[in-house]
């Protein structure tokens, strides 16, 4: 668990903060259920959740491809859209990490945009760590019958220190057991555009990851970043694995009754 001191006291934050949900483009396109799960978890924690309409992407594809001008253009959009909120929360460590860790560095120091980026960065959080560290959530009212294994997505883990928070919340889910996999903190091979620029290296990395997943005997794989989950689910399904893949938020919100990522209506639900 994070140290007690990292949890903001109620005096420092509004009791019912106004949260802007940064949906992330992958959740918007591929898995709306994750967005709704995030809304439920935030509302259950006492937040007033809004979804700014004028949001698309945090800019990582441009940023990680070296396209600095387009990255800045996209970052300004995000800053404008989310400035009115007490917090920006994203169901993704890599998007939250982009805004929190990288936005302030995109703009020349001591310029108005740098200051605005800095202010937004301070109020930006990944969903799991926001629930535990800011809102003080220690348990959720959800049930999930099965053994799960959890993949630590790299940006959330290394840029934001998201490690114990999702595990702590999962421990409160009735019927759920966690079986840790070997090398849970090693990259799954997604890496944004990396997976299409170097498909064979990426394919090798995800094959290894999936072997570590199946070696645990867990029936479900969870993680906090949809990019990694699409990658691992895609590989699991290609190899005919029955392992279900969900975003952690879906399980914590009790919203994992839909087919898993990459599963169809015919695949037996969880």
């Amino acid at each position: 668990m994070m140290a007690e001191s990292s949890i903001q006291s109620p005096a420092e934050r509004p009791v019912h903060p106004r949260v802007g949900l940064f949906v992330t483009c992958l959740v918007d396109l591929f898995r709306p259920n994750v967005g709704f799960a995030a809304v439920k978890l935030l509302e259950d924690a006492g937040c007033r959740v809004e979804v700014p309409e004028l949001q698309v992407c945090c800019g990582q594809p441009a940023y990680n491809s070296g396209d600095a001008p387009d990255t800045r253009a996209l970052a300004r959009r995000v800053i404008e859209a989310f400035e009115p909120f007490d917090y920006l929360v994203a169901p993704s460590g890599s998007c939250a990490g982009m805004i929190k860790d990288h936005y302030p560095r995109l703009f020349a120091a001591s310029t108005p945009w740098a200051a605005r980026a800095e202010q937004l960065a301070e109020r930006t959080h990944e969903l799991m760590s926001f629930l535990t560290d800011v809102m003080g959530v220690t348990a959720v009212a959800a049930r999930y019958d099965g053994t799960v294994t959890y993949h630590d997505s790299c940006s959330g883990l290394r840029e934001l220190g998201v490690r114990e928070q999702p595990r702590a919340l999962l421990a409160s889910v009735e019927g759920l057991a966690v079986e840790e996999m070997r090398d849970a903190n090693v990259c799954c091979g997604f890496g944004g555009t990396f997976c299409v620029k170097f498909p064979r290296i990426s394919g090798r990395m995800v094959s290894e990851k999936v072997r570590n997943v199946t070696d645990t005997g867990a029936t479900t794989l969870l993680g906090g970043d949809l990019g990694c989950l699409l990658n691992m689910a895609g590989r699991l399904k290609r190899s005919g694995s029955p392992v279900k893949v969900y975003h952690t938020a879906e399980v914590l919100a009790g919203m994992a009754r839909v087919p898993g990522i990459g599963d169809g209506d015919d695949d037996s639900g969880a």
Partner: protein, 475 residues
């Protein structure tokens, strides 16, 4: 060494299919990474040491001219010679000239990455001098005629069976005709062969892990003791080192030494830590008659103060590559030049230019594990991203990627248009998937679908569904 870095992708794909290499790489994961984790866990002050090490290096780099001059004075005072080489060509000429003046026929070498950077073996062989690598790993790849694939374990890509065959092929001329198949007998046979070389050597060349400004010592760490025989037995000792290796004091050396072996192999200390301070003095029982240090710049001074400055803190421990999942999948030869893995993907483009090396900084998922384990806290992912920025700004990004990026960012900056386009897109993909939840193949997505299915979208974007539900919820 001729760079093959432009060919990374093809070399990497060949490496993925090389079963012997894959066997060898599998051993790396359980070895160095596990042992490092144990060593770090056993030293509570490790994080504080990292910060201390970083500060020592930053202080030195901030006053590099001062400490290098101090170092040079100290070497001269103890009877040694310091040679400054701006380029690898100059360094080659200096080393070859020293050997020629000494009338050297045979040179023994300890492991030196700067030696690889200079290409010192090729230069000496071209000048008619026999060169013998004495680090076991270096010796193995010298027999195989290959460059190192790792900066501290140069033959890590070789399996034991391959080494058995190499020795069988090359050791007959030393009267050894039996195949040696056990680690102990392999090491013993190498030791016997190398011993002849040590005794016959005229010049010994080593690298340096540190150059100490306060007393002019050069420091090497080894696990085999070959460095000690290389720098004491021959008449002439040449040290080849990059200018960033200097630190102010012996105290500083001891601080960084505590980080070095733990980060590299998980040892508390390497087996041998050897300080060389000039030629043999009156009354000394052994040591070289001549002592030379060749200080190589090769682009380093250009990095001082620029966006790649922090790379100069690198102590060549190899933790970054040991923890890099891409290195772990393809090995070091794929990178095509002297330095592989994350630190190589920064150094190669910085030293050789981005034009023909721009694949390297892209061959990374930016997962950040290298930075997490780097004892010098070098922000490797940030530097790789900076190199991508340079590639993009110089117009070197492949046309297809550039156009795709432009099209995507055009849309992403127009949320309403983006919403319209994506609504149609996810609907179409969901229809194609026909309730199966995934696609096995999709036009233009072959890179994704070669190894994995594409989970299908639900058919409606979140924004669409959100608006619909809000409308339904309102009175």
């Amino acid at each position: 060494m001729q760079s093959q870095a432009h060919d990374f992708k093809r070399r990497a794909e060949t490496a993925l299919e090389d079963m012997e290499l894959q066997k060898a790489l599998a051993l790396l994961k359980g070895g160095f990474t596990t042992k490092r984790a144990q060593a770090v866990a056993a030293l509570p002050e490790f994080e504080a040491l990292r910060t201390a090490g970083r500060e020592i290096k930053e202080h030195t780099l901030g006053h590099l001219d001062f400490y290098l001059e101090r170092y040079e004075e100290q070497v001269r005072a103890s009877g040694g010679h310091v040679h400054w080489a701006s380029t690898v060509e100059e360094a080659r000429t200096i080393v070859v000239d020293i050997c020629a003046r000494a009338g050297a026929q045979r040179v023994t070498k300890g492991k030196s990455m700067v030696g690889e950077e200079i290409g010192v073996n090729e230069a000496l062989e071209a000048a008619g001098v026999d060169v013998l690598e004495t680090d076991l790993g270096e010796y193995i790849i010298q027999l195989a005629g290959e460059p190192p694939s790792h900066i501290i374990a140069p033959a890590i890509h070789k399996t034991k069976a391959q080494i058995t065959e190499l020795f069988h092929k090359h050791h007959a001329r030393h009267g050894k005709t039996e195949r040696v198949t056990e680690v102990a007998t392999i090491v013993n046979e190498a030791r016997e062969v190398l011993r002849e070389g040590f005794l016959a050597s005229d010049v010994g060349i080593t690298g340096a892990n540190f150059l100490v400004a306060e007393n002019g010592a050069s420091v090497i760490v080894t696990n085999e003791g070959n460095g000690d025989l290389t720098n004491t037995l021959p008449r002439v000792h040449i040290v080849t080192a990059g200018i960033e290796k200097v630190v102010p004091t012996l105290e500083d050396v001891s601080t960084i030494l505590r980080l070095l072996a733990r980060s590299a192999t998980g040892q508390e200390m390497s087996v041998y830590t050897t300080f060389s301070t000039g030629p043999k003095r009156q009354g000394d029982l052994d040591g070289p008659e001549e002592y030379h240090v060749v200080l190589l710049d090769n682009g380093r001074s250009q990095m001082l103060g620029n966006e790649f400055h922090e790379m100069l803190r690198c102590i060549r421990c190899s933790a970054c590559m040991n923890h890099c999942p891409v290195y772990g999948a393809v090995g070091g030869h794929a990178y095509g030049w002297v330095y592989p893995g994350p630190m190589g993907s920064v150094l190669t483009p910085v030293m050789l230019g981005i034009e023909k090396t721009s694949t390297l900084p892209n061959a990374c998922t930016l997962n950040g594990r290298c930075q997490e384990v780097c004892p010098m806290q070098i922000p490797l992912p940030e530097m790789l991203r900076k190199l991508r920025e340079r590639e993009f700004a110089d117009g070197l990004t492949p046309r297809v990627a550039r156009m795709g990026l432009k099209a995507w960012s055009f849309l992403a900056r127009r949320p309403r248009l983006y919403g319209m386009v994506t609504r149609v897109g996810v609907k179409a993909l969901a229809l194609v998937a026909r309730g199966k939840g995934r696609l096995r193949w999709l036009p233009l997505a072959g890179a994704w679908t070669a190894a994995r299915d594409l989970p299908a979208p639900a058919g409606e974007t979140f924004q669409q569904a959100w608006k619909r539900r809000r409308r339904g919820a309102s009175p």
